[in-house]
Symmetry: C2
Subunit: 548 residues, 2 copies
């Protein structure tokens, strides 16, 4: 029997001291529990994604000296840790994305990642050389095919890579696959991941230990879901989601299978509850890992800021969240009432700062300049920028971090003011279409009414001119979001979207708006990613370009 | 004799209609001049970098149908054009970065890029599969080793790749190398490029036709410098820099050399004049290609905004540039005088909008909130954000694009206000350290005083509180820039920078500031890139991280 422990931890990018500490804690715990092999996830030592920290030689040197320090404490236990290592070959990139095997207090084997995801949010070939040599590792007589994340993912009908690491490793007749991962969350990812893992155990007729991480590093969220799976696809152990976890499985090398103590009956939660958990973790770790405690949110009475405030209050504690109401002459009474009702429910602190006087001063200062022109988007944006300036002023004065409240639909079509309501250090719901924001609001209200029903049911409005409604400028959100999904997530052409959804004029107009607003999104905050195609790092479109 | 024409053009990313037109124009010109082989640069058809436009199938299909349309017009001429093409193999990424050879009105050969730059500003492995099969092409009996940009660049002592495309192609004994490129400008790049090309002709004992492009696509600037070089390293023809150009060379297949009509005696211009030209082209193309005409600049009387205004006036014409002076109670008289003196010299329109009243209104509105606190960075930032809001208001009202005036030194240490003076659609001098901004100011004044000498000689100040100087918060710019260069360009560690520059406290403090301000730079405008390591696309550091 090989006792294998799966350590699913929350690493902090770049913070070697912290990561080393939580790794060593688990090593000591595992030693106490007579574990033979303890497995940590991909790039555990440096956190994921370390990005261009990998270009700093001293960072790589520090990783190596920490690995050696960790190794020295691994008496009577074997440990697999993900870390960057130097490529000994002068040719090719200088680094590998490695799984480091420590046995008897020494680094005995290093296995490197072959398939380097370089698409969407991933840039691994930016730093790492592709591995091209294959060998299993041995731990207490068990021959293990050790791979790293993407190495198991080339299972598509249209494969992204021209090689299959397991095809090579299986030639050595291993008893077990171990895969260490940094596999980020999106609301489809859990199902997709289990499908891929099942395909692998079936294809190679081998059981699998899969270790992922949890936690958020700015836009990346990791949801965990580490597991041990037998060759028949049965999940023997499944670790928690969105939480650190540590579990031990017994592997029988004769039967090449894990010993099942009881059947795992894990129910996949709903899409919206997963999104809710991912956003909470995203907020919590953004603050925790950057050393801030307190959030500030501009509260309009509309649904977007209400959802962000509710999430922040739950993630950070309502005593750490401050709401600012900034009514203008165009604000409706129900906006103020709904906002006050929400802060009352959440028990957040709040203040009210009117923007009317400041706005009048801007109008006076620009009087000569704007003479003979009529009220238009310039004046609308001034109001939004006054609010952005007030929020940043309070934030600067008292050390809050401003949470942004823009949603994906408005970011897509540019229905927001850069340097105004687009302000904020972190975008909480920037990867949720407006229709999903409504879903999430209802989910937040699942037990009791937190977000006022009126906020959910009333027609959305920016309230930047008299009687303004979103529907003055935008199609209905059901149609808008359907168009956006086809264009952004599915990369369909205008023509094929028109074929599917009709509404040629609307589709054409919407896609023009998406393309014309790349420059605004370029200057936007990082967005907590929950979908398969988030704005930001995952979608890199040219700014000064002409297309579609 | 093979008559070869080098077409060095200014392509617009994504704009297939425009690119096809300028390509066809040159094809007709070449046909009229009895050219045998006409060579365009890398990804000429779609512009460089097309980024995630490449993820849209219909974009690739449009490229292909445009290629076929171009081919039909290539009677009696052979043409090489860079374009994305589909990978016929189901395995691997779906695209190649290709050199398409058209002969007798048909696409006869497609050669694909082997070495895909994926570092700094480059992401080519994000979209393209690496070529692994090699064959020369034949044009009128001349055997040509046809490669694409980076394919010739694996010449370093620490090679980035494990293969050398020319090592394969040279086995077929070609007579000539042709390399098509999209090789972006930096102020060292011209020398580096010529060295690499000389190494190639020497290593393979072959002459070379090298075709680069010119023009700017947002942050990328291409400087041209296409050339024909004999195997002995002699440059026979060299095309212009920062300008479209078209030249014909005669290639003698018997002697395997170009016929030299006269000796090229090209003098490498100074670093600062190259930077000047790159920034002018960067501004010009940002406006031209995005369909805007008029720029607005906030003019403080300091050197940064003075340099940006002077560059914009020359790039766009002073009639298209509007300056806004926004004095506060802390503004000195010399600031206003210097600013007025400059607009007078440049003959730009200008207006003066005082921010004092608006600032007072903010203070009043925040009176309750800020009670008992003293004037600090919060109030300083309010002033900067009022200016940012005024500039955007005028910009929104009249259709200007706001040019940002931040320099690289202040971006590095976060000495600027996000949503304030960090506003703007394009950063003009964001890749120039403050010491380089001074150099550029003197260069701009090389013939006559345009930027007031007082602006150049006075101590820099943000003027956001009484008697403020940059030197209150920052070390002298000579030292600051030296530290920044070691840390950013040379990726040195704190320890090694201290060893080189002493000043342990200052070095440690500066590097902490650089690391702590990643979140601000993340929301910054695209920067015209002129150095080997610009902020933005070329330097991707984690935001919520702890390191150094």
């Amino acid at each position: 029997m090989l006792r294998i422990a799966l350590a699913q931890l929350n690493y902090h990018v770049g913070n070697l001291v912290f990561n080393k500490k939580i790794i060593l804690d688990k090593i000591h715990q595992a030693i106490n529990q007579n574990v033979d092999l303890l497995v940590f996830s991909e790039l555990a030592l440096c956190g994921y994604p370390p990005l261009d920290l990998l270009n700093y030689n001293h960072f790589i040197e520090n990783c190596y000296s920490d690995l050696k320090e960790i190794a020295m404490q691994c008496k009577n236990i074997s440990v697999i840790i993900g870390a960057p290592t130097s490529n000994p070959d002068i040719n090719g990139k200088n680094l590998f994305n490695s799984a480091v095997l420590i046995q008897n207090g020494e680094i005995t084997d290093i296995r490197n990642k072959s398939l380097l995801p370089t698409y969407d949010i991933f840039d691994e070939y930016r730093w790492f050389e592709q591995n091209k040599s294959f060998a299993c590792v041995n731990v207490k007589g068990v021959k293990i095919a050790l791979t790293i994340c993407e190495d198991l993912w080339n299972m598509d009908a249209d494969p992204l890579y021209t090689n299959w690491p397991m095809n090579e490793l299986v030639k050595e007749s291993p008893s077990l696959m171990v895969n260490i991962a940094a596999s980020p969350f999106d609301f489809n990812h859990e199902d997709e991941r289990k499908n891929i893992l099942r395909k692998n155990v079936a294809t190679y007729n081998l059981p699998l230990v899969y270790v992922n991480q949890i936690g958020a590093n700015t836009d990346f969220v990791f949801d965990g879901g580490s597991l041990a799976m037998n060759a028949d696809g049965t999940i023997i152990k499944e670790l928690d989601y969105f939480k650190e976890d540590f579990l031990i499985v017994e592997f029988d090398n004769n039967s090449k299978s894990f010993v099942a103590d009881k059947k795992v009956n894990y129910e996949t939660p709903s899409k919206i509850s997963k999104i809710n958990n991912a956003l909470m973790l995203g907020i919590k770790d953004y603050f925790g890992k950057s050393g801030f405690k307190k959030a500030i949110v501009g509260l309009s009475g509309g649904i977007d800021s209400a959802v962000v405030l509710a999430l922040a209050a739950e993630a950070l504690g309502s005593e750490n969240v401050h709401a600012v109401l900034m009514p203008s002459e165009f604000s409706s009474q129900h906006s103020i009432d709904d906002a006050l009702c929400l802060v009352d429910k959440l028990k957040c602190s709040h203040e009210i700062v009117s923007i009317a006087d400041i706005f009048n001063r801007y109008e006076a200062a620009l009087g000569d300049s704007f003479k003979g022109t009529s009220f238009n988007v310039a004046e609308e944006n001034i109001q939004s920028r006054i609010r952005g300036t007030l929020l940043m002023a309070i934030s600067n004065k008292f050390g809050y971090i401003l949470l942004n409240t823009s949603n994906k639909s408005e970011l897509a079509v540019g229905y927001g003011t850069l340097y105004g309501d687009m302000n904020g250090g972190l975008s909480v719901i920037g990867d949720l279409y407006k229709t999903e924001v409504y879903e999430l609001a209802n989910y937040i209200n699942r037990k009791s009414e937190i977000i006022p029903v009126n906020t959910i049911t009333k027609a959305p409005s920016a309230e930047l001119r008299p009687n303004q409604k979103d529907s003055d400028s935008l199609p209905d959100y059901d149609l808008l979001d359907a168009i956006l999904f086809e264009y952004i997530e599915k990369t369909k052409s205008t023509q094929s979207i028109i074929q599917k959804l009709n509404n040629a004029d609307v589709v054409t107009k919407v896609i023009k708006m998406v393309n014309a607003n790349e420059w605004k999104r370029h200057q936007f905050a990082p967005i907590i990613r929950v979908s398969t195609k988030s704005f930001g790092r995952g979608r890199r479109m040219p700014i000064v370009a002409k297309y579609e």
